[in-house]
Structures are given as structure tokens and as C-alpha cells.
């Protein structure tokens, strides 16, 4: 098998995904170049000197190409075999951050490596979790209709998330929720999605509407439901119990759970960002992180500064954009973190709506392609893994783009393959190329 693989490294490889990968990374480097560009400087020289972010990103890309080649050369069985071990290793690394962790930007989620590089285990853990989840779901004895295995699956997905929250990396923690999409494909009851969405609506409603009015509204809805379903209730008393229980839960969430999360789980700045999304001010004195977060992250600018500037950058692009390197918002560095989290703004300012549509089209194409790849796998392991990859990428895009266009609170999540950052690029490269490797062996049944 080894010899065969050696001869035909490209056999069965999905070229479309590789092309999309290459195009997206190229766009990413171009975007970073736009952000960094300063007229008058000899960009070629700085490029060669490797001191700018885009040249660094290019170096990262070089590393990624090497890693990708190794992955493509590797045996697919390797991934199934080591998935649990890797997962355990990932969790260990994350735990290690609490001991040897380095504080970068207020989150203690980095492990310092030699040569000034830092490793963020939570990023790598995405890969390991995807593998472990696939491994678990593809076990012969796992019956995912069974509630017990559903819970185990959830625990596998959410364990790193919980650790991330403790590391002060809420954004990364959220990503792990994307595994539910993969689990849904494997038979998680749709009711869970509905409950999830309802919960989201309830949280948003809690933020927007005054709590007493919301309680009254909920009561009215419950009473209306009882009135409408009165005939069924007569026949079956349990419906009434369910409605009352639901009402009780809703009010409980609205009254206690949401304020508790905002005051105790989230940092002050996070709560403030979420509140500013719906146009409200968050009173930081209620936050128990108050004293700590104040010293950690002194905020000079108003909290909606980022979003406002980001929206201005995107909005000023218009239909066709201002042209390559002509974005005033980008050149003036008005958008903070533009080379990482807000990279989308430089693209949309320069190329306008047309550019954005093409760009998002590429992403959608990639996602659909991965879903298609997933569905053509013979082995559950590969399928679950493919869905995990699609979910992670999808989640990143959604949160990141929605954040820049002002539909979502600011959460530090990079745009896959585009944002500047070695960890992020490497993670997505590994994710995608493992998928490609697995897909190349789609005729095999992997366990």
C-alpha cells in the first residue's frame, strides 16, 4: 500500500477542493497585503525581508504545504488509529495551558514554544475533536439514536469548549458547538435544533425586551397555547404539564439563566459587546469579572467603534468597490484587527458587493463540495469527519462575516484560510487535507 501511495500521491484526490483552498489562501494573502500596504515603501524589499504580515503568512503557507504533503502521503488508517490518542493529547495540552500557559491578549490559552512561536492547543483540538467524534460515531457498537451515545458525543465535542471558556477564549469555545451540525446529520433529534433556535430567540428577546414585559408575554403565550389546545388537554393532561413546564423553563431562563451567564460567565467586554449589538448599554458593575477585566483590557474606544468602522469600510465599497489598494478605510487603519478578524472588510471595501458575492460564492462552493464529499464516503468515520470540517468552516465564516457586517457581536474568530495567523491557517490546512486524504481512500471502510 505504501508503495502504491508513493507512486500516485494524487490518486483519488479531490482537485476542486485543493484549487479552492489555493485560491482562498491566495485571496487571503492579497487581503493582508492590502491592509499592510503603504504607498511609497518598497514593498518588494519588505516582502523579501519577511518583516510584513503578508510575507509571514506566505512563510506559514510554505509550512502548510509541507504539512499537507505529509498528510497526503500518510496512510488514512493512521487517522482512525490515533484519533482517540490525539484527542486525549489535545485535552492534556489544554489542561497544560493552565500551568505553563502564556497570557496573550488577555486569554491564557497559549503554550510558548521554542523560537518565539506560540501554540494555541484549542485550535489544534478542533482537529482532534473532529477525529475523535468521527471515531466514536463510526464505532460498530455506537448507536447514535441512543440517548446515551448522543450525550457521549456531546461531551466529546464540548469538553474542549468548556476548557476554552476557562481559558478566556469564548470565541473558540463557540466553535465546538458547530459539531452539533455533524451530529445532527448522524441522527441527533431535530428537536434539539428547534430547542436550540428557540433558546437563541429567547436570549435575544431577554436582551431586547424589558424582563417583566417579557414574562407577561411568555405567560400570555402559554395561556393562549392552553386555550388553543384545550380540547387536547382534556383528553391528555400531560400536554398541560408540558406547557407549564416549558413556561417555567422559559421564564427561568429569561429571569435567571441569561443574567447569570452575562454577569458571571462572560467577561464584561463580551457582555457589553453583545448588549451593544442590540443597541443597549451593559452595566459592567454587575459583572463579577469587573475588576479583573478592567485591568486586563482597558477599552479606550466606544464599544461599537469596531463594528461602526467595519460597517463603514464595507458600506463604502459600494457595488464595484474602490479598487485594489484604494480603500481609504483600509489605508487609514480605521478598522482594528483588520488583518486578522476583520480581514473581510478590506476585501469588501476594495471590491464591493460583486467581490463579496464572488468571494462568498467560493466559500459556499467549498462547503457544498465538502458536503458532497461527505455523502460519497463509504465509511462513517470519513463522513462524520467531512461534516465536522464543513461545520467548523461554516461556523467560522458565519460568525466572522456576520460580526463584520454587524449581525453578530464581536467574537474573535478568524476567517478560514483568509485571516492572518499561522495557527489558524495550519489548522484549516490540516483539517482540509486530512479530509482530502480520507476522501482519496473513500472506497475503504475505515474504523
Amino acid at each position: 500500500m505504501n508503495s502504491r501511495n508513493n507512486n500516485t500521491i494524487s490518486k483519488g484526490v479531490d482537485w476542486l477542493v485543493i484549487w479552492l483552498y489555493a485560491i482562498l489562501v491566495a485571496i487571503g494573502i492579497l487581503c493582508i497585503f492590502m491592509v499592510e500596504y503603504k504607498p511609497g515603501t518598497d514593498w518588494l524589499q519588505t516582502f523579501i525581508a519577511g518583516k510584513t504580515n503578508y510575507s509571514k503568512q506566505l512563510i506559514f503557507l510554505g509550512v502548510c504545504v509541507i504539512v499537507a504533503t505529509f498528510i497526503l502521503l500518510a496512510d488514512s488508517k493512521l487517522f482512525t488509529t490515533f484519533s482517540n490518542l490525539l484527542y486525549a493529547f489535545g485535552i492534556l495540552l489544554m489542561l497544560a495551558t493552565f500551568v505553563v500557559g502564556k497570557n496573550i491578549n488577555g486569554s491564557k490559552s497559549w503554550i510558548p514554544l521554542a523560537g518565539g512561536f506560540n501554540l494555541q492547543p484549542a485550535e489544534l483540538c478542533k482537529i482532534f475533536t473532529a477525529l475523535a467524534l468521527s471515531k466514536f460515531l463510526s464505532r460498530q457498537e455506537t448507536d447514535f439514536t441512543n440517548i446515551k451515545s448522543q450525550i457521549i458525543g456531546a461531551v466529546i465535542a464540548l469538553a474542549p469548549a468548556i476548557l476554552s471558556i476557562f481559558q478566556n477564549e469564548t470565541g473558540l469555545a463557540l466553535v465546538y458547538f458547530s459539531f452539533f451540525i455533524a451530529m445532527y446529520r448522524e441522527g441527533l433529534p431535530p428537536a434539539l435544533l428547534i430547542v436550540g433556535i428557540s433558546f437563541g430567540v429567547l436570549v435575544v428577546a431577554t436582551l431586547i425586551v424589558d424582563k417583566n414585559i417579557l414574562a407577561i408575554a411568555l405567560t400570555i403565550i402559554a395561556l393562549l397555547a392552553i386555550y388553543i389546545l384545550r380540547r387536547y388537554i382534556k383528553r391528555q393532561k400531560s400536554i398541560l404539564t408540558i406547557i407549564v413546564a416549558l413556561w417555567f423553563i422559559c421564564v427561568g431562563v429569561q429571569r435567571f439563566a441569561v443574567p447569570y451567564i452575562f454577569n458571571n460567565v462572560f467577561q464584561c467586554y463580551q457582555s457589553t459587546r453583545i448588549y451593544s449589538m442590540v443597541g443597549k448599554d451593559y452595566d459592567c458593575t454587575q459583572n463579577h469579572h469587573k475588576s479583573k477585566s478592567n485591568s486586563d483590557k482597558p477599552s479606550k474606544k466606544p464599544d461599537d467603534y469596531n463594528v461602526r468602522q467595519s460597517k463603514i469600510a464595507i458600506g463604502s465599497g459600494g457595488l464595484w468597490g474602490k479598487g485594489f489598494l484604494k480603500g481609504t478605510q483600509t489605508r487609514g487603519k480605521y478598522v482594528p484587527e483588520q488583518h486578522t478578524d476583520f480581514i473581510f472588510t478590506s476585501l469588501s471595501e476594495a471590491f464591493g458587493l460583486v467581490g463579496c458575492v464572488i468571494f462568498l460564492g467560493l466559500y459556499l462552493l467549498l462547503l457544498f463540495r465538502i458536503v458532497r464529499i461527505a455523502e460519497r464516503q463509504r465509511s462513517t468515520f470519513s463522513r462524520v469527519y467531512a461534516y465536522s470540517v464543513a461545520s467548523i468552516i461554516f461556523f467560522h465564516i458565519t460568525v466572522n462575516v456576520c460580526m463584520t457586517v454587524g449581525l453578530f457581536p464581536i467574537i474573535g474568530i478568524p476567517l478560514p484560510l483568509i485571516s492572518y495567523g499561522g495557527s489558524s491557517l495550519l489548522t484549516f490546512t490540516i483539517l482540509i487535507f486530512i479530509l482530502i486524504r480520507l476522501d482519496a481512500d473513500r472506497q475503504m471502510v475505515l474504523r
Binding site: I314, S316, G318, R331, G332, L353, L407
Partner: protein
């Protein structure tokens, strides 16, 4: 492996798509339907830098600059970048304390945000600039920014040139259409004001891209939208620097003014208003302080007395009434009138005359005979052919009007007064319908209601010199690059006096005026070798003191032109409260005439006399009192401060010492304060001062 839930892949694809559609909708909303973001981006990123043009320079008749532009430096700070500044060092250099530093910073941030550069200390002195320049590395966020300011190399002509000042909000309201902006300078008085349009030039605008900290990133669109600054036009005036300098020197410590006109062109050769100030006083960083000082000065240095004060012209007016009398035929050159000490025509014995005797026209002028000209005036008003005093006065005024009296001449600097030619309606109000010549006889000798500005008087001299015509007196001869706004057109029309006046009448008047200088009232001011025609004037005047009119020392007047043939200079001088015309004004005029015609003063005797005159202090008594009062006010204030300090010290000291000290205490400071009453009076004046200071604050 059985494939369950395959349909769920569709659901997942729908979820993917729907999220992308939501994003797309929001993108359309932002990029297509909200033009405000485009505007916001421009407001963010485009910095419009105003490029100030150089103001035009004003030259004298020999192209010497009366004022010019010099480069000076402002200390400019961007507060947000000034965090690491060595505050203490900076304060020591600027000689301010840290509270002042903090106060200024607060004001700057409040007015102009922390990220934009604002002026911290304007117009640094050379010395301070050098010191700061060496130490700039200690003051991050501070830069030395150059700017042009006015400089006056000869220290003269403050009232003529005027000053410039930063525009205030009310100015901006009044001049909305002219494109001024906060921080611009505009001419406030003098030539700076009247020729603002040409002097100011045209501002240029450069567009830059700025970054989030307002740092300039480069030109916007490579500068295609930039406009260049167009420098202001230079003005070429008729002022003669040497003459102006001498005039100001002679008028030092005197109150009054001098106007000299080139009768051929109407160009003003010098215009001195005294007391004046050094125009450089209003340019440096002490401008505000100096401005307040000058505004509070009882000598009113901002007042241009040559055009802003109306005087009774006194005997100099006799030339005009003489010409009118001759033209109307009420007298001839041979008409003689005898004075026995006073004019008896009205039975009041007024006005008196100084020299008794019988005078013909020439000698009446030479000796300034009041009786002669009262007779002439009375004859005009009593002429039966006019049919009454009303219409006779109208005839008289009509002549006087063509001599440029009773109306603004239209000189090219602002705040000119019109003077006054009283009309019959005015007299009817006072003397009733049946008023007659004797009511107004003092007009004959320029002591009545007739009032002229000194400029008008100088112009009358020019008219007599020209024998019947004049150009409107003006300071600016030409504007660099042409008179684009037709500002000089008014100075190119020749104005004639009544055509009925033949040259022979002017000759007669000139004969008389020459006699004035040759052997008449101003004989002492005769210049050897120059035929000068002049007329003295001694004007009685009164000042209101505590509501009572009190006679003051006479104003000294002199009007003249020279040389008689082909006159080159017509001049009028007033020296307030300095006695007879021959005593102060005439010598001053003679010095200036000689200076202008010969470029120097000849003879050691005259030179010493000149110095003697220049050093004479003829500040009127009342003004001196007022100045003293102000000075003593200052002293009183200082004393109060000393007293307070002493009180404080006393309170600090032990109780046993107190009685002894208190006995001593009053003696020291109160000695200088005469009485308690004075202190209370002082308090009122302080209030007034405060009012004035408020006014200053508004003006500055």
C-alpha cells in the same frame, strides 16, 4: 454501512445557503442601500489641509515695505501623542506652571479633540524658538509649526496700516459668503481692512488621506482635487516712509495728527495720528496683553485722529470763507476792514481780534484778522439777493461742499468721519425761524458748528494749491497685478470746486497764505528757499468735566502747501491743546514740508529746533490726569495685594505680636492711598475696567 438520515444533508445545505443569503442581504443593505457609509468613510479618511497664502505686502511710494511677512513659529501639540512629554521642562522653558499647562491641554482637548494638532503657544520669540528647538526630543507630540506673521520694519503707520486678527464667530456670521473659516486672520482696521479682498489672497486646499490617528498617509487621489494657494496682492501706497517717520517723531508725546497730501494726485504722503503705537506691538505672542493695554489707554491710540476726530477748523477755515466771499462778490481783494480790537458788526464785541488795524484781504489772512472774515461772513448771509439767511447759508454750504467739507471724502481706510456743515434747519431749531447772521457769526472764523476732519483740512489746502480741483485723498496708488475689484476707480476722478471761482481768487488767497509764512502769524516757520503758503489756526475748545464745560488750552492748527508754484505737498497739522497755531502746528508742518521737498532738514539751528520739538511733551492736562489715575489705580491694586498678604502673615503669626503689628500695618500700604473715599471711587472704576476688558475679550 447503511446510510441513515441522508435527507438531512439537504437540510444542512439549506442551513448553509440561508445563512449566506442573510449575509448577502445585509451586504446589499450596507453596500448598495446605505450611501451614508460612503460619506462616513470620506469624513474619516480625507483631511483637508488649508494652505494659507501669504498676505500682500504694503509698500511706500519708493517701494520700501511698510509691512512685510516674516516667518514665525507656533508650538503645536497633538495631545494624544504628548503622553511622554517632559512637562516640567517644557513649563520651565515657556515660563508657565504645570497648572497652566494642564489648563491649556484641557482647553485644547475640549476645543479641538486630543488627536488633532492645536496651537499650544503661538508666535514664539526667536530666543524661545531656539531653546525649544534644541529640546524638542523631550516633548513628543509637540512640533514647531511655521507660520507667517506681519512685521513692520519701520515701526510706523500703525493707524494707517491697521492690524489683522483672528476672525471671531460674529465676523464669520457677517461674512458667510466670503469663505472665511475659524482660525483665519482678517484685516480689522486701516488698509488691512479696506483692502482685505486683495491682500488676503486665495487659500489653497490640499486633500490628504489620514489614518485612524489623524496621521497623514499621503495625498488623496494624487492631489487631483488640490487647489494651490494664491498669494495676496501687494499694495503700493503713496506714503513716504521718511515723512511718516519724521511726522511720528515730531508728534511724539503730543495729541493730534498730521495729514500730508500730494495735491497733484491726491495720494497721501503721510498720515500721523498721535499718540500712536508701535505696530509690531500687536504681532508677537504678547498680542493679547498689548491689545488690552492699548485699548485701555486713555490716550486712545487706536483712534485715527486724522480721519476719526472732528475739529472746529479755526482760522484755517478763513481761507474757505474768504474764497466764497470773493467769488460771491461781497468783497474784493482791495476791500479793507478795520479792527479796533473786536468785531462790532453784531454789537457783542465778539469775536476779538489780535492785531488792531486796517487790513486788506491779503493782510487779513496774513494776520488772521477775525473782524475781517466775520464781516465777510455776515455780508454773505445778509446778502439781500439770496432772500434770507436760510438760502444764503445754502449758497455758502454749496461752495463749502465742493471743497470736500461736510461729507466723507472717501479715503481708503475705514472709520472716516464726515465733519459737519451746519444747515439752516439746525439753526432754526436753536434760534427759531428768524435766526440771522449774528447768531452764527463764529462760523466765519471756524469756531462755530462747522467741523472738519484733519483730512478734509489737508484736502482744502490741496484744493487751494491746485486752484480749484482735487483727487479724493487716498493711500493706495496701485495694486499689484491690476485693480481687479475697481477699488481705486474713485481715486481717478478729478473733483472740481465751483467753476465760478476764477484762478485770480485762488491767487489772492495764496498771496495771503504766502504772507502768513513770510511775515504773518507763522513767520517763525518760514523755510529759507521754499515758498510755502500756510494758514494758522487757534481753536478755542472746551471739555466737559463733571458736567461743566471748562475751557481748555487752545488747539493748534496749521494748514499749508508748498512750493507755491507747482505745489508738491499740501499739509494740515493739529496739535491738541498746544496753544496758538504758530506755536506748535506750524513748525511741525514746516519741518515736514522741508523734509519732503529737500529730503532733509537744513541748518543746525532748525535741526536742534526739530529735536527740541520732538522732545516736547504737549499731552493735555486732562489726559495726563487720566493716565496718572490709571497708574495710581494699578498702584492701589498692588497695595491691596500687599495688604492682603500682610493680613495673611499676621493671621499666621502669634497672637502676642498682633497688636503691635496692626499698629504698624496701616502706615505702610495706606500711605499711598489718600482717603477712604478714593478707594470706593476706585472700586467703581475697576468695574468699568472689567467691562472694557470684557469688550476687549470679545474683540480679541
Amino acid at each position: 454501512m447503511p446510510v441513515f438520515n441522508q435527507n438531512r444533508s439537504r437540510v444542512i445545505q439549506v442551513i448553509f445557503t440561508s445563512i449566506f443569503i442573510i449575509i448577502l442581504v445585509q451586504l446589499i443593505h450596507l453596500q448598495i442601500l446605505s450611501p451614508k457609509y460612503k460619506l462616513a468613510a470620506e469624513n474619516n479618511a480625507i483631511y483637508r489641509k488649508i494652505v494659507y497664502p501669504d498676505r500682500g505686502i504694503i509698500f511706500d511710494r519708493k517701494r520700501r515695505p511698510l509691512l512685510e511677512n516674516i516667518m514665525s513659529f507656533d508650538l503645536v501639540v497633538t495631545p494624544s501623542e504628548a503622553k511622554g512629554t517632559d512637562t516640567l521642562d517644557l513649563c520651565t522653558l515657556l515660563q508657565i506652571d504645570t497648572t497652566e499647562y494642564k489648563r491649556r491641554m484641557r482647553d485644547i482637548i475640549f476645543k479641538n479633540t486630543a488627536v488633532r494638532p492645536s496651537v499650544f503657544e503661538p508666535l514664539l520669540t526667536q530666543e524661545l524658538y531656539a531653546k525649544l528647538y534644541e529640546n524638542m526630543y523631550k516633548f513628543p507630540g509637540f512640533i514647531l509649526s511655521e507660520r507667517k506673521s506681519r512685521a513692520y520694519p519701520y515701526n510706523i503707520g500703525a493707524n494707517v496700516l491697521g492690524y489683522i486678527a483672528e476672525v471671531d464667530t460674529s465676523f464669520l456670521r457677517r461674512h458667510k459668503e466670503e469663505g472665511y473659516e475659524q482660525g483665519d486672520y482678517t484685516g480689522m482696521t486701516g488698509l488691512e481692512r479696506s483692502y482685505e479682498k486683495v491682500l488676503m489672497g486665495q487659500r489653497g486646499i490640499q486633500r490628504f488621506i489620514k489614518d485612524n490617528r489623524s496621521r497623514i498617509q499621503g495625498a488623496y487621489e494624487n492631489g487631483v482635487f488640490d487647489t494651490a494657494a494664491v498669494a495676496g496682492k501687494n499694495l503700493y501706497t503713496s506714503i513716504d516712509v521718511e515723512l511718516q517717520k519724521l511726522g511720528e517723531k515730531l508728534m511724539n508725546n503730543k495729541v493730534g495728527s498730521i495729514v500730508a497730501i500730494d495735491p497733484k494726485t491726491g495720494g497721501i504722503l503721510c498720515m500721523v495720528s498721535a499718540p500712536t503705537y508701535n505696530p509690531n506691538y500687536l504681532t508677537g505672542n504678547q498680542r493679547k496683553k498689548h491689545f488690552a493695554q492699548l485699548l485701555l489707554d486713555p490716550r486712545l491710540p487706536f483712534n485715527n485722529r486724522a480721519i476719526g476726530n472732528k475739529y472746529s477748523p479755526g482760522s484755517t477755515f478763513k481761507t474757505v470763507s474768504g474764497i466764497i466771499g470773493l467769488t460771491e462778490g461781497v468783497i474784493t481783494e482791495r476791500t479793507t476792514v478795520t479792527c479796533n480790537g473786536a468785531f462790532q458788526g453784531c454789537g457783542t464785541g465778539k469775536p476779538k481780534c489780535l492785531d488792531k488795524g486796517t487790513f486788506d484781504f491779503k493782510n487779513a489772512i496774513a494776520h488772521s484778522d477775525n473782524t475781517y472774515f466775520s464781516t465777510v461772513y455776515k455780508r454773505i448771509l445778509d446778502q439781500p439777493r439770496y432772500g434770507g439767511a436760510d438760502s444764503a447759508l445754502t449758497v455758502f454750504n454749496k461752495y463749502a461742499y465742493t471743497f470736500g467739507l461736510g461729507h466723507k471724502l472717501g479715503i481708503d481706510i475705514p472709520s472716516e468721519k464726515a465733519g459737519n456743515l451746519p444747515i439752516s434747519k439746525y439753526y432754526r431749531k436753536i434760534f427759531g425761524q428768524k435766526w440771522y447772521s449774528c447768531n452764527v457769526i463764529s462760523n466765519a472764523i471756524g469756531q462755530g458748528e462747522v467741523q472738519t476732519t484733519l483730512l478734509q483740512l489737508a484736502n482744502v489746502m490741496a484744493i487751494i494749491a491746485n486752484k480749484g480741483w482735487y483727487y479724493t485723498p487716498h493711500i493706495v496708488d496701485s495694486i499689484q497685478g491690476g485693480d481687479e475689484y475697481n477699488m481705486l476707480d474713485a481715486f481717478k476722478t478729478k473733483h472740481y470746486t465751483d467753476k465760478n471761482i476764477p484762478d485770480s481768487i485762488f491767487d489772492a488767497v495764496q498771496d495771503g497764505m504766502q504772507a502768513v509764512v513770510d511775515y504773518g502769524t507763522a513767520a517763525a516757520s518760514k523755510i529759507d528757499g521754499i515758498v510755502m503758503c500756510g494758514k494758522t489756526g487757534t481753536v478755542e475748545n472746551y471739555a466737559k468735566i463733571n458736567g461743566v464745560m471748562v475751557k481748555q488750552q487752545d488747539h493748534s492748527f496749521f494748514g499749508a502747501f508748498a512750493p507755491r508754484d507747482n505745489p508738491k505737498i499740501a499739509i494740515a497739522v493739529i496739535c491738541e491743546n498746544s496753544g496758538q497755531g504758530a506755536w506748535a502746528a506750524a513748525p511741525i508742518a514746516s519741518f515736514l514740508v522741508e523734509q519732503y521737498l529737500r529730503d532733509s532738514i537744513s541748518g543746525t539751528e532748525r535741526k536742534t529746533k526739530l529735536e527740541e520739538f520732538a522732545n516736547k511733551n504737549l499731552i493735555p492736562y486732562l489726559m495726563r490726569m487720566q493716565m496718572q489715575k490709571n497708574d495710581s489705580l494699578k498702584r492701589v491694586k498692588e497695595n491691596e495685594i500687599i495688604q492682603q498678604q500682610m493680613n495673611k502673615e499676621n493671621n499666621d503669626s502669634t497672637e502676642t505680636d498682633e497688636p503691635a503689628l496692626q499698629e504698624v500695618k496701616p502706615k505702610v500700604p495706606i500711605k499711598k492711598i489718600p482717603s477712604k473715599n478714593k478707594i470706593s471711587a476706585v472700586a467703581i472704576i475697576i468695574d468699568e475696567q472689567r467691562k472694557i476688558q470684557k469688550a476687549i475679550a470679545r474683540k480679541v
